[in-house]
Amino acid sequence: MTWVGRAVPLKEDARLVAGRGRFLDDLVPGRMLHVAMLRSPHAHARIVSLDASAAAALPGVAAVLTGREAATRSRPIRPLIPTPVPIDDWCLAVDRARFVGEPVAAVAAVDRATAEDALELIRVEWEPLDAAVDAEAGVRGEAPLLYPALGTNVLWHDTLTYGDVDGAFARADGVLEERFELSRYASTPLETFGCIAAWDAGTDAYAFWTNDQRPGLTMAILAESLGVPQARIRLACPDIGGGFGNKRRPAYLLVCALLARRTGRAVKFVEDRRENLSALMQAAGGVMDLSLAYRRDGTLLGLSIRDVTDEGKNLISPAQHNLIKLGNIANGYRIPAIRYAAWSVLTNKCPSGANRGIGKPFMCFAIERALALLARRLALDPAELRRRNYVSAGEMPYATPTGATYDSGDYHATLQAALERFDYDGRRHEQARGRAAGRLLGIGIATSVEPAGTNLASYEIITGRRAASGSAEAAMVRIEPDGQVRAAVGDPPSGQGYETVVSQIVADELGLAPDQVEVARGFDSSTTPWLYLSGNYSNKFSVTDTGAIVGAARRVRDKLLRIAAHRLEADAADLELRDGAVAVRGMPARALTLKELARTAYADVLGLPPGEEPGLEARHAHQNPLARPMDAARRVPSQLVFANAAHCCLVEVDRGTGGVTILAYVVVHDCGRELNPLIVEGMVHGSTAHGIGAALLEAFRYDERGQLLTSTFMDYLKPTALDVPDIEVGRLEHPSPFTPFGAKGVGEGGAIPGPAAVANAVEDALAPYGVTVRALPITPEQIWRWLTT
């Protein structure tokens, strides 16, 4: 019996339910200062002058940092994906602010309140400029320029073609054309972003504590911008209160580092919620024009997409949304010919970036909406239309036209299981009865593939060269001198229960119970093994982290067996490792405990086999085998291993208020082998709730001057326990042949098909009104307009 695969209650839950987690804001180094940032009230404005002398003179203020000073004391922040013309982007805005909420100066003071008081004393003379708020105007060259040196707001544009697209459209019986729009939204982890920086004058070394999700990349940025070697930077992550991709902002770490260096004291910055909503990270919005060529029987022949992505001031990873959309463009369907024309456009809005599913929710929304519309046009059941186009189980592993590999799964079976669990036929009858009685009931189906792991080689599509590639993670396992086991992985969790899962994996390898394995909390660059690629992103635990942990544990295990074989004068092949001891198979009396073997390895080293290195510690890094470089046809997997899911929901629209109630919601998903079903089910619930939020509630609204109108939780609405139904989850398990346990990613889960499922249901409910849902979120106001006009 193994521990992997069992619903083991979580180690970390025991401390978290008691309020004994250790989050960033709980850390308080001695003599620490607090930072507050002065932020631009304008979407686009020149900084004519900035006078911070009165702020610096306020009692309790230790230092003020302006953008100009930051530019002289640090180097620009290196982007993950470079822009076509290099653009210098410092940790504070220098001459010009480019979105509402962009920081232009920072104050370090004895407490946050004093620092905020000091902000009011900073005098800025602004020259407001016209704001670029419409990405399509940017494409047409009609928008004010954010960076005149660039000559355009379009950071990237290309048209990628796979297969005979013109032929497919020429042969088609029909073409469905539609335009879809997605608002900006965000997963808004409940803990905001924060960091602490400290500087040691004696060694010119920096220490950081932060809830940054991607420490490997951040280490590189910090070293380059501060001009110190990575060996003199230590970065640690405590418990992280949710991430969803949002928790990254190296600029804030740099601001704190410069203030720590100036003052010689530890410096902390923690976003307040307005700062988080207006300035951290939003999913890119945009417009997608879709053309789908089909045969009369519903067979899909070709797909052509024109995609304009509203990046905001995203100089960190421009075009990343586009790349990921391209990788998922065909969803689970066999579409032989694909064209993707995309524009990545700067606007005067919050930087867009990673947010649960990055790009995939919009891509899935467009495709799954299109299939719903096509089903209606062809008078086919939406489930049947999908069946006619799925990649079948027999075709796995299936090479997609754009270069990804669908590794395993049975999409037909997933959909079938969801329909049965949902009682699809019964619900259709219920809907018909309800409609006859005047109720607005609707059923929505959406299905999706869900990839895991990022292949950085795919950025070559955008940049034309390869700077980084693949998907990998590092881990270590160590048996301490007292025989106790400790493990660490370079991926700081933000609620995914890695302490528990890692202990399950190590326990199986070393013949222990999970309770006997200590797993390091979070991340510490000075003790955790890590790579540039290390971090908590892209669903990657199952495809890279697991291999690193297993590899390290096996090295320790092999060494234990070699030492035991030597000491027991037995053949290593005759030994077994279980219940905390190595024994000769069938002779339990001839055994050595881990404690005894650890004593040999660390203390009584003359007892080791000849040539064996003392100690019982191993590190291992694992890269997923599906990552490949781009080929001559520009095919490359942006992501690696594909789970899949089917969502079915029943909604009711209130004629009086335009409100939507979700009456039933079923998810059947297949993420390969589940490492801990308790964690997996939670991920499915939570991600689906994010999908529901994006569908019905959440939107960052900017006015025509680029002012953010939804900067608090009073107007940026999150789903509550009354908005999210009791999501029913079923599962299939088709293991991946390309991961150590056959596991696949599941963290992005329902955030991908959820918006489409709800939108399809609302449209179905409003069928008597002939409504077509083209944009999200679908607010009561929108519905009320549909019902009354």
């Binding site: 209650p9 979580l10 970390e12 839950d13 025991a14 401390r15 978290l16 339910v17 008691a18 309020g19 004994r20 987690g21 989050f23 804001d25 709980d26 308080v28 309140a113 997963s187 808004t188 982890p189 409940l190 803990e191 905001t192 418990d239 992280i240 209160g241 949710g242 991430g243 969803f244 307040d272 919620r273 933000s494 609620g495 995914q496 229960g497 308790l678 964690i679 089910e681 939670g682 991920m683 619930h685 939570g686 991600s687 689906t688 709730a689 608090t712 939780f713 009073m714 999150k718 789903p719 509550t720 326990a721 009354l722 999210v724 009791d726 999501i727």
Partner: protein
Amino acid sequence: MQREIEPRRSLSDFLREDLGLTGTHVGCEHGVCGACTVLVDGWSARACLLLAVQCEGAAVTTIEGLTPAEGLSPLQEAFRACHGLQCGFCTPGMIVLAHELLALNPAPTTEQIREALAANLCMCTGYVTIVRAVARAAAARA
């Protein structure tokens, strides 16, 4: 206890920074998310919206006060058994809220549980396992 504090100090800052009771979390500082929920004289309240001086003479109970010296309370055990949390940031506020609910209504229906929990936000769980945890704790008492 008795402390002299600045009038503008919020209850949440007072608990966290002056008393070191970091189990009370701060998620929005404008009274929506409920991560900072504590009991004031037995009633749930947003610690971020109260000034500490307003609580003069009141009994304030935080997650630390609901946690036994050894082990966990039955409600906390139920949250762990149902994995009614993920990142754990909303959890103390949710448990304080659920504690109040069960004190007022020892056998709530699922709808009543949802209605009570709708006061707070959780970004991780979709609330499904939180509702389960509260129902489990209620059933265990019955």
